[in-house]
Amino acid sequence: MTQTPDQVLDCSGLSCPLPVVNTSKAIKGLEIGQVLKMISTDPGSQADMEAWSRQTGHPLLSSLHDGDKYIYFIQRSK
């Protein structure tokens, strides 16, 4: 599934907790309904982004694993 994001946030090379912290900052800058694409190289971000999505209520539309990259599409819901 590919989508056109409204914003791209590259967290490559950053460790916990920066991918979720930077994602939360970026999502606040979007309009409701807009989509953020976040790129991480942290394998721990998979479980973290799922938890972050459940806790914040912003849905994780899709997550992909491509080589050493973990790519997430998150929609601002509120």
Partner: protein
């Protein structure tokens, strides 16, 4: 536990250690919880109190810290994986703590881990409540003016009341 799902969850932390290594858990947990929209309060007590100082100067030493790996943040992958067997007596030499501190800071930087000052700034940005222990201030002679301006001052009863309403309470 909150019964209303619309009320944000609350995390109550006690930060009781102020060395470079032990400064990480409270700040990582506080910023991660803040990023999830949780309300967060960190009570800085005993050796954790200096983490509120405007001039942050956290250090680490392997002395009395036998689980701490002594690894180099440069060179080939094989070289970096060596856990150097430093004799305990050598760890007591002047300047050893400074060397160990700079090696750990460099390792963290290489691995994309935020520094303690960066994490503390993020915590402030995420409205984490930073609370200084009044008793520790009195014992060790700290003044509120020495702390970041966002810090407030309270005692054990105030923390316990806050923690009683929290979903997660941790002592670090």
């Amino acid at each position: 536990m909150k019964s209303d799902p619309n009320v944000p969850k609350r995390l109550a932390l006690i930060a009781s250690k102020g060395s470079l290594d032990w400064a990480y858990p409270p700040f990582i947990l506080a910023t991660a919880a803040g990023a999830m929209g949780w309300e967060v309060g960190v009570f800085f007590t005993f050796y954790g109190l200096p983490l509120l100082l405007k001039d942050l100067n956290t250090k680490v030493t392997p002395l009395g810290n036998p689980a701490m790996p002594m690894k180099m943040p440069f060179g080939s992958e094989g070289f970096q994986s060596i856990n150097w067997p430093v004799p305990t007596l050598a760890m007591a030499l002047p300047g050893f703590s400074e060397v160990a501190t700079s090696l750990m800071k460099q390792t963290f930087k290489n691995k994309g881990v935020a520094s303690i000052p960066e994490l503390r700034s993020l915590a402030i940005e995420l409205d984490v409540n930073l609370v200084a222990c009044q008793m520790t201030m009195d014992v060790f002679g700290f003044k509120k003016e020495q702390f970041v301006e966002q810090a407030s001052v309270a005692g054990a009863a105030a923390f316990l009341e806050y923690a009683a309403e929290a979903d997660v309470q941790l002592f670090v």
